[in-house]
């Protein structure tokens, strides 16, 4: 199954709704970069509200896709990280430093507009 990527004006919206396996995560990485290229989007919001755990592999894929998107000129905001996910990520030793985050989708879109100076 592929993760749907929706276009809204100059932004792409992604809501990850089910537990990610390795293949889906890597496919998503590719799909998002192609979609950025296709649509000339300059902002991306990835919402993780439904995700109840992130291991080091998923964290690496997410961190990588954020850096890759930045290389292509698109800023990424991660939203909806649950308390349990924040706790386990820090205990695992993964800080996701320099990643833009917001509490929910609405605040994420606001942050993105600020970052893009619009």
């Amino acid at each position: 199954m592929r993760i749907p990527i929706l276009k809204l004006h100059n932004c792409l919206l992604v809501s990850i709704q089910w537990e990610l396996d390795d293949q889906t995560a890597l496919q998503f990485q590719e799909d998002l970069l192609h979609k950025i290229h296709e649509t000339s989007a300059n902002g991306v919001v990835i919402d993780l509200t439904s995700i109840d755990f992130i291991d080091s592999f998923i964290a690496k894929v997410l961190g990588d896709v954020i850096n890759m998107s930045n290389l292509m000129g698109a800023k990424v905001v991660i939203t909806g990280i649950q308390p349990a996910v924040a706790i386990t990520l820090i205990e695992l030793g993964i800080g996701l430093d320099n990643v833009l985050t917001a509490l929910d989708l609405e605040k994420g879109l606001e942050k993105l507009q600020q970052e893009l100076g619009e």
């Binding site: 080091s56 690496k60 993964i94």
Partner: protein, 133 residues
């Protein structure tokens, strides 16, 4: 007393199966959402290590009942190449696979007890336990 269920790890889908098993057992034992996430994450790290480094192995989940306490123990076992320097793999940021190097030291922090036995040629056995508070 303990009750055990196991998942054989051969491919990456088995990693998903192992963490689902762990999450279900954690729920049954009455662990809260944060401990469920800790346990699920720990299983995912250990199962991925088996898949990446040993190719094949097993994750078994024990329900423990000791001295009026309930707990969950993850047993990860493989007959892979083993680890020559355990101290090195327990350091944050050490990885031979291009990963984040968060795996084993991370699992130790996520769980209450952690034991590892490994030597070259003898595979790796890890036991990690979380007690219900």
């Amino acid at each position: 007393m303990s009750i055990q269920s196991c998942v054989t790890i051969i491919n990456e889908w088995d990693i998903v199966a192992a963490r689902q098993l762990g999450r279900n057992v954690a729920k049954e034992l009455g662990f809260g959402t944060v401990d469920q996430a800790r346990i699920t994450t720990a299983i995912s790290e250990l199962a991925r290590n088996i898949y990446l480094y040993a190719g094949k192995g097993q994750i078994c989940i024990d329900k423990l009942y000791e001295d009026g306490k309930a707990g969950l123990r993850i047993n990860a076992a493989d007959n892979g190449p083993g680890i020559s320097d355990i101290r090195q793999v327990m350091e944050d940021g050490f990885s031979t696979s291009g990963g984040l190097g968060a795996g084993l030291p991370g699992v130790k922090r996520l769980m209450d007890q952690f034991e590892i036995e490994s030597s070259p040629g003898n595979g790796t056995q890890i036991k990690a336990t979380k007690w219900l508070r």
